[in-house]
Amino acid sequence: MKRTLVILLRNPLSLIGVILVALVVLSAIFADFIAPFPEHRGSVVDFVNFNKAPNATNIMGTDLVGRDLFSRIIYAFRISLVLGVVVLAIATPIGTLVGLFAGYVGGKTEFILMRLTDVFLSIPPLVLAIAMMGVLEPTLMNAMLAVTAMWWPWYARLVYNIARSEREEGYVLAAEVIGASTPHIALREILPNCLPAILTKMTLDMGFVIIIASSLSFLGLGVQPPTPDLGSMVAEGARYLPDSWWLTVFPGLAILIAVFGFNLVGDALREILGADQ
């Protein structure tokens, strides 16, 4: 653990990743103190200062009703991160359990569970979430639900592949010989060997969840205004290109920075943990 951290901080690229992630996470947590205009996260209207280009007071300009863009982006990070954490916290255990039992038990269980996984995997990810949001009311809760529904199969497949190859290993046979129960073998023997891969995937997925969630709200199917969300901010600003470029460019760059940070860290983790195995 400690060694992993040292390697992470030594490599310049992963160090940049750690810094970016720290910046995004810290500004999301301490948004109330960092944002110059905390009240602008809601439906404040300031028609004197609307649609202003970046300047000394509003370093990223103001939106069409005069709210400070920088403040809103910082609060939008909060929404993105909460959504990412909740989605992964629900999708990972579900997918892991499905993959674990399908991979270890085999037979009919394997066939049914993995075909079910295939069904979810054969609708292009965004399309499934879009279809679900089309049916549900566009709220933060439902957006989390829709993204979770498309996310667990990826973990099921990852864990299934590992579990299937572990099934033949000596330590599993040994546990079977002494009469350990199926849940014990799956959860206590095989699962620990899947953890590095799961953790790495979770770091990389944090970025992807942010991408998918912002895509939903970009289409108007996610978090609704006035709640600040990076995707809906880009969508709103895109109508005023090229004159009010800051309305789209800054929220867009904010997505890029956050996801890039998580990807850098995830990449580095994959290399470190992969080499450790």
Partner: protein, 342 residues
């Protein structure tokens, strides 16, 4: 039966099972929709009798499994019902909008393979040196933003600030092209109208590139990772000892075995592009299936939603089938295997 044919039969069977599952899933999702679809379709001014009549004709009063039965029966006759939004058969709507999306996605797919793979090969060949670092950084940036962000940035740079490409649409209004395949790049050529072809080509470059950016990054990263592994194999060392040129080693010995795992992921990325087309089409006002999809979703048009998702999933399954077959042809272990292992 040859191994490849047996593989095809097996994959077709699984695809069919999956497609039935997808149809049930989508049908289920569409039926938990809050509100009465008949009431939504007819609007607030319709009488109760009219709503009842429509409910009856849509089989909405039956149990959901029975409704699904009717749906499958119609589907087998090639009937996906009527769109409540356009008042036309859903199949007709899809036939109109699908080619534009397919053209965009296929063009983006060509860009993904045509740019992503060479970048990956380069990166692996110069592993640890500056071309490798630059390519790795750029490809990681590519996968780090949703395609609508790339679409907006590219549009701002290459359509507004440097007005090289058009801002929206598939072709300029001045051209009237007879619709044969629905693919404008092909139809313009069939009509022998080179000016129109050029125009359509200019229109597709920017949206297709925006759609392809993350796929390019993904393809480059994967190819590099697989090739770096291959470079450690003894036969590469042997080739190097023979004094073959680095370029030949990269292409012939290191790239070929790395292509197979890359292809699987490229198939999956293609699927992602079918979804991401929703975002790019919105930015560039591309008149494709995705724009239609968003429109019908916002209007809770059930038949159209089910039809659209089903067609996209079927397209995706077909692409994956093609990729699997390609892999089977490329992989001598499958091509020559006697038992046709799966």
């Amino acid at each position: 039966m040859t191994p490849v044919l047996r593989l095809l039969a097996r994959r077709l069977g699984i695809s069919l099972i999956v497609l039935v599952g997808v149809s049930m899933l989508i049908f289920g999702i569409a039926r938990v929709i809050p509100g009465d679809p008949a009431r939504i379709a007819l609007g607030p001014n319709a009488t109760a009798e009219q709503v009842d009549a429509l409910r009856e004709s849509l089989h909405l009063n039956e149990a959901i499994p029975v409704q699904y039965g009717y749906f499958v029966k119609d589907l087998l006759r090639g009937d996906l019902g009527t769109s409540l939004y356009t008042n036309r058969p859903v199949t007709q709507d899809i036939a109109q909008f699908l080619p534009a999306t397919l053209e965009l996605v296929l063009f983006a797919g060509i860009l993904m393979v045509g740019i992503g793979l060479p970048l990956g090969i380069w990166s692996a060949r110069y592993r640890g040196r500056w071309p490798d670092h630059v390519i790795r950084l750029v490809s990681l940036l590519g996968v780090s933003a949703p395609s609508f962000v790339w679409a907006v940035i590219l549009m701002l740079l290459f359509a507004f600030f440097l007005p090289i490409f058009p801002i929206a649409g598939r072709i300029s209004d001045i051209y009237e092209i007879e619709r044969v395949t629905g693919f404008l790049l092909i139809d313009t050529l069939l009509a022998g109208n080179l000016a129109a072809f050029r125009d359509a080509f200019w229109h597709i470059v920017l949206p297709a590139f925006a759609l392809a950016v993350s796929g390019i990054g993904q393809a480059a990263r994967l190819t590099r990772a697989n090739m770096v592994e291959t470079y450690d194999k003894p036969y590469i060392e042997m080739a190097q000892a023979y004094g073959f040129r680095a370029r030949r080693i990269a292409r012939k010995y290191a790239f070929k075995p790395s292509l197979i795992p890359s292809l699987t992921i490229i198939g999956l990325d293609f699927a992602a592009m079918l979804g991401n087309a929703f975002l790019v089409e919105a930015v560039f006002a591309w008149p494709g299936l995705s724009r239609y999809g968003v429109a019908v979703i916002l209007r809770k048009d059930l038949n159209a939603i089910i039809g659209t998702v089903l067609i996209i999933s079927a397209t995706f399954l077909i692409v994956n089938l093609i990729v699997d077959l390609l892999i089977a042809f490329l992989n001598p272990r499958i091509r020559y295997s006697q038992r046709g292992s799966s």
